[in-house]
Amino acid sequence: MKHLPQIGGLTLQHLALVGAGLGIALVIAVPLGVFTARTPRYGAPVFGLAGVVYAIPSLALLAVAVKYLGLGFWPVVLVLAAYAQFILIRNIAAAIAGVPAAQIDAAKGLGLSAWQRFARVEIPLAAPALLGALRLTTVALIAIATLGGYVGAGGLGSEIFFGLQRQYVEETLAGSIPAAVLAILADAFFRTLERTALKRTGEA
């Protein structure tokens, strides 16, 4: 129990890795997802490319990232952002494409500009599916972020890493159990948001 403050600090580091990775991932995936939803013929190549990245073993990708960015926080963030693309782009595209065409047509006909249609009609109606995409991605990134332990980025992975090195099971568990709890909490958090959003859009 005396390690509790230490675990707490590592959990915060872990969250920082996931948060930064997810943030950067969204900056890339939102435009690409919306773009492929609007022009479905570009869907296949974009999804294909994201799929190729997703297929690279994460440890290998991390090794490459360290080569260029050095040890520490940023190579892990880069790997997380790269891995998130596959889940995010596909699900964002599906969420936007799933907005009923009649409501888009009506919005156009009533004189909403492209930006107003996006912000006031598409985003609110796609919100449940978008939150679903965020949930899946966050849970995946929490797991992948444990790789940070190998490259000195901190986070709960460092407990797991040191535990494995010293064959000290308790230390490994001190990293992996909080990581699992974090994933479960993130899942529950986004599910609650999804339910609220569903109630608003009336699909529940």
């Binding site: 009923p100 409501q103 919005a107």
Partner: protein, 301 residues
Amino acid sequence: MRYPGADRNAVDGVTLDIAGGSFTVLLGPSGCGKSTLLRTVNALVKPQSGRVTIDGSDVAAADGTQLRRGIGYVIQAIGLFSHMTVGENIAVVPSLLHWDRARTAERVDELLGLTGLAPDRYRNRYPRELSGGEQQRVGVARAIAAEPRVLLMDEPFGAVDAILRADLQDEMLRIVQSLKTTVVFVTHDVDEALRLADRIVVMREGRVEQYDTPLDILTKPSTRFVAQLLGTDDTLRRLSLMRAADAAVASESTSAETIDAGASLRDALNRLLGGVTRLSVVRDGAPIGSLGLEEIRKALQ
């Protein structure tokens, strides 16, 4: 106007002059270009050649978004925003036009009343809680919220059952007549067109076959296609567009059975076939003549 990949123009060589304040119906089979033509008016479709003008100004020259805020638009699929309440839906265009809150709220209630939906009951409900007919009433209310100069309606009652449709048509006529808005209405339903239109545009394969009043289209179809589509040999249909006053002849003898001057000859025929031999035609309670089967037969010639 041709869509990419199509082998013929969706709308071709159409010239129409639609009078302000009139109710014009674009009538034709599916795929005849009537919806495409409608959508050129609010620039949702941009023709490769030719132009559409409203009050003399070219719609292509206007900013599409601004233009559409001044043109009502109702579609068959209704397209109410499912994440907004009925009141928020109706307030969409007023809020785009930056009306103040009080004026918008007042207008929402006014429109709900106008379309036969009690404001207190409906204002805060969501579209999914409404029946199809109620949803389309809200759709109409939303389209006319900011008093558009032009109202475009694309088969608005196509998904509503027949009995309800007649009610909605009557109410809509009453509403647009009070607004003095120019209405362009698309349908493939001949009876709906005859019932609503001041003027009908019959379309076929992107071209206009005939543009005339309902009665002229029925009595003087310009092509065989128009005659077939309208069923111009359908006597009852023609009678339903003719008024009792038009067939009445002056007569001294007044029958106890009366019919209003504005009633259709179809109604008159109904009565006559029901056993009445002669009807006295009255306007504002005063007899102006009478009619029997012979007069109806003459009116049809």
